[in-house]
């Protein structure tokens, strides 16, 4: 039997990688992938808790998180396409329309 904490450590490591990618990268698409990594880390924690607490609620929540992630990917990538069409770049540093 694998100890419960090892799953949580894996989840936290994935989340940390996601946060670092989100904060440090310039490419919007890679920033978006980092968000997906963070969502997956949360999913892993959900499933691990559901397994070790003998409850199914965690797996149901993963189902909902996945549908939110799918909706987010569809809308977010459409936004990236629209931004690229007007600004000709996907570099987050150069998108400063809302800066004052």
């Amino acid at each position: 039997m694998i100890p419960f904490s090892s799953y949580l450590i894996l989840s936290a490591a994935l989340f940390t990688v996601g946060v670092l990618g989100f904060m440090l990268r310039r490419n919007i698409i890679v920033i978006f992938m980092s968000i997906e990594l963070m969502l997956n880390a949360a999913n892993l924690a959900f499933v691990a808790f559901s397994r070790y607490l003998n409850s199914m609620d965690g797996q149901i929540f993963v189902f909902f998180v996945m549908s939110v992630a799918a909706a987010e990917a569809a809308v977010g990538l459409a936004i990236i396409m629209a931004v690229y069409r007007t600004k000709e770049t996907v570099n987050a540093d150069e998108l400063n329309l809302m800066k004052w």
């Binding site: 694998i2 894996l10 994935l14 799918a70």
Partner: protein, 170 residues
């Protein structure tokens, strides 16, 4: 024993490819590594007695979402980046700081004793006897019926939003 070995291999591959995702210069390579990460996470879900979630992970994440990503990357016709990291200094400092805090939290998890609360009513043996998918489906259509229906509204909003945003002029 074999379970532990499998977990260690999957965990190492997951974290390694996740790090490779955020250090690649080419977004296509990032996307491919992210697909490998999602496949390994599917394997870990299988180890956690969640075969339905594992299949959905491969179908929805590694299949649908990543195909969408690759499609957009190839549509945008990007070249390799010259600089990986943002030029804003505050953001760099904040990012590194948050990373360190999260790593400290990993250490806390390693030390603390968890799971002292009461257990739910779905022990793994019982779920395996009925079938994981059947248990999930029964819960989705009874206890979680309202959230399940709201999910369909969310997906409809996403479809409409994507179509509106993808039009020629906004």
């Amino acid at each position: 024993m074999i379970e532990t070995a499998l977990f260690i291999v999957l965990a190492v591959v997951t974290v390694t490819t996740a790090i490779l995702v955020i250090v690649q210069r080419n977004p296509v390579a990032s996307a491919i590594y992210l697909i490998i990460t999602f496949f390994c996470l599917g394997g870990i879900y299988l180890l956690l007695n969640a075969p339905f979630i594992a299949v959905i992970q491969v179908l929805v994440y590694a299949g649908a979402i990543m195909v969408l990503f690759l499609f957009v990357i190839m549509l945008l016709n990007l070249e390799k980046e010259k600089k990986l990291i943002t030029r804003h200094r505050l953001q760099k400092i904040l990012g590194a700081f948050l990373g360190i805090i999260l790593l400290a939290q990993i250490g806390m998890i390693f030390r603390s004793i968890l799971l002292e609360g009461s257990r739910g009513k779905f022990p793994p043996e019982q779920v395996a006897a009925v079938g994981n998918t059947q248990v999930v489906a029964r819960l989705l259509f009874t206890d979680y019926l309202l959230p399940f229906e709201i999910t369909s509204v969310l997906l409809l909003v996403a479809i409409i939003g994507a179509i509106v945003l993808a039009k020629r002029q906004i």
